[in-house]
C-alpha cells in the first residue's frame, strides 16, 4: 500500500479513488453528526454544550498527531535525505493547522458556558496555542523562503523543535494544575465517558481522520505534480 505514496504512484490515485474516500467520509461524518447532535443525550452537568466535544476532541487529537508525524518525518528527512519526505511533511501541515485552530475556537466556545471564561492561560491552553504558532511558522517558512533547500532546512528545524511541545500538550493536565480537565480516554484505564457519548465521539474521530487523509493525499499529489512540472520547466 505504501509504495503508492512514491512520486510515480501517487499520480495514479485518480479522482475515482478520492471520490470513494469522500463518499465514505460524508457517510461516516453524517452518521456521526446525527448521532452526536440528535441521538446522544445531553450531559448531566454541561447540558447540550457537551456536543462541542464531538468536534473538539478529534480536532485536537488530529492536529497533535499531524504535528508528531510532521516532526518525525522531518527527522527522517534530515538524517536520510530521502527526496520525497519534505513533500510528505509539507502536505500534512495545512490540515493539522486547520484542526489546531478548530480545537482552540471550539474549546473557547465550550469554555464560556462551562468555565465561565473564553480563555485561560493554563498549561494545556497555552501549549495548544504554541502548537498553532508552530504550524504558522512552519507553513510560512515554506511560503516565504524561495530556495527549496533553505526552506526545507528551516521548516524541518521548526518541526523538530516543535516536537518537544507535543508531550507538553499531552501531559500538561497531569503535570500541573490546569483549568482544563484531564483526559477521559486513556490507554490504561476505562474511558470516563458514558458509552452513549463515546460512540458518536469515536464515529466523529473516524470521519475526521478520513477527511484529514483525503486532504493530505490531495495536497501531496499537488506537490508532486508541481515538482514534475518544475522538472520539465513548465511551472
Amino acid at each position: 500500500m505504501f509504495n503508492r505514496l512514491f512520486p510515480n504512484k501517487i499520480l495514479s490515485l485518480n479522482n475515482k479513488f478520492f471520490i470513494h474516500l469522500i463518499f465514505l467520509m460524508i457517510c461516516v461524518i453524517g452518521v456521526g453528526l446525527i448521532y452526536a447532535l440528535l441521538i446522544s443525550p445531553p450531559d448531566s452537568v454541561q447540558g447540550n454544550s457537551v456536543r462541542i466535544m464531538y468536534i473538539h476532541v478529534p480536532a485536537s487529537f488530529i492536529s497533535i498527531s499531524c504535528y508528531a508525524f510532521m516532526g518525525l518525518i522531518s527527522i527522517l528527512s534530515i538524517v536520510f535525505k530521502i527526496k520525497i519526505l519534505p513533500f510528505v511533511a509539507k502536505s500534512i501541515a495545512p490540515v493539522g493547522f486547520v484542526f489546531a485552530l478548530v480545537s482552540i475556537f471550539s474549546g473557547s466556545l465550550w469554555g464560556k458556558p462551562t468555565w465561565g471564561v473564553w480563555w485561560a492561560w493554563d498549561a494545556r491552553l497555552t501549549s495548544m496555542l504554541i502548537l498553532n504558532l508552530l504550524y504558522i511558522f512552519y507553513i510560512l517558512s515554506w511560503k516565504l523562503i524561495k530556495e527549496f533547500e533553505n526552506a526545507n532546512k528551516v521548516s524541518s528545524f521548526i518541526a523538530i523543535i516543535g516536537l518537544l511541545n507535543i508531550p507538553i500538550i499531552k501531559y500538561s493536565v497531569d503535570w500541573w494544575n490546569t483549568l482544563h480537565q484531564t483526559s477521559s480516554i486513556t490507554l490504561n484505564s476505562a474511558p470516563t465517558i458514558h458509552y452513549t457519548m463515546l460512540i458518536p465521539l469515536l464515529i466523529m474521530f473516524f470521519g475526521l481522520i478520513i477527511y484529514s487523509l483525503i486532504v493530505i493525499l490531495m495536497k501531496y499529489k499537488i506537490e508532486i505534480l508541481k515538482l514534475k512540472l518544475k522538472k520539465n520547466k513548465i511551472y
Partner: protein, 142 residues
C-alpha cells in the same frame, strides 16, 4: 550499514535533541510556579512567602453545604479535602458552579484562610454522563 554521512547527521541530531529536551525540562521546572494555573488550599497552607497584594488563583472543590447565597454576594469554602479556604465573592457565577464540584477563584488572599475573589470559574472534571446514568450512579453510592 549506515553511511558515514548519515551517521554523522544522526549523532548530531540526537545530541542537539537531547540538549533541547534538557533545556525544556529545566525551563519548565524553573517556571513551575508560573505554569500552575491555580494553587490548592494545601499549597497556600505550606507556602511561606505569600504576597497578599498579588493576584492569585486558588482551586479545589466547593465544600458540600458551605455555599451561602445572599443577593449578589456569595460565600463558600474551597477544600482539597485536607485544607480549606473561605471565599467571599460578589458578581455573577458560572452555571456549572455547584457544591462538590471543582472551582477556581481568582483574587487576593486576605490571610491564609480568607480569600476575596474577583472572578469565579467552574472546573469540569473528565466524567461525562447523561442525566439518567448520573442518578443511577448517585443511587448506587448511597
Amino acid at each position: 550499514m549506515l553511511s558515514k554521512k548519515v551517521k554523522t547527521r544522526l549523532v548530531f541530531l540526537s545530541i542537539s535533541l537531547l540538549f533541547a529536551v534538557l533545556l525544556t525540562f529545566f525551563t519548565l521546572k524553573t517556571l513551575k510556579n508560573n505554569i500552575v494555573y491555580f494553587l490548592s488550599p494545601t499549597d497556600i497552607y505550606n507556602k511561606n512567602d505569600l504576597n497578599f497584594n498579588k493576584k492569585v488563583r486558588i482551586g479545589g472543590l466547593v465544600k458540600e453545604g458551605s455555599v451561602i447565597n445572599k443577593n449578589t454576594s456569595i460565600k463558600f469554602t474551597i477544600t482539597d479535602l485536607k485544607n480549606e479556604i473561605f471565599v467571599s465573592y460578589e458578581g455573577s457565577i458560572p452555571n456549572l458552579f455547584s457544591e462538590g464540584k471543582g472551582v477556581v477563584a481568582e483574587g487576593r488572599l486576605q490571610d491564609k484562610k480568607y480569600f476575596l475573589a474577583d472572578s469565579i470559574m467552574a472546573k469540569h472534571d473528565e466524567n461525562y454522563n447523561p442525566l439518567e446514568v448520573k442518578q443511577i450512579l448517585k443511587g448506587n453510592k448511597n
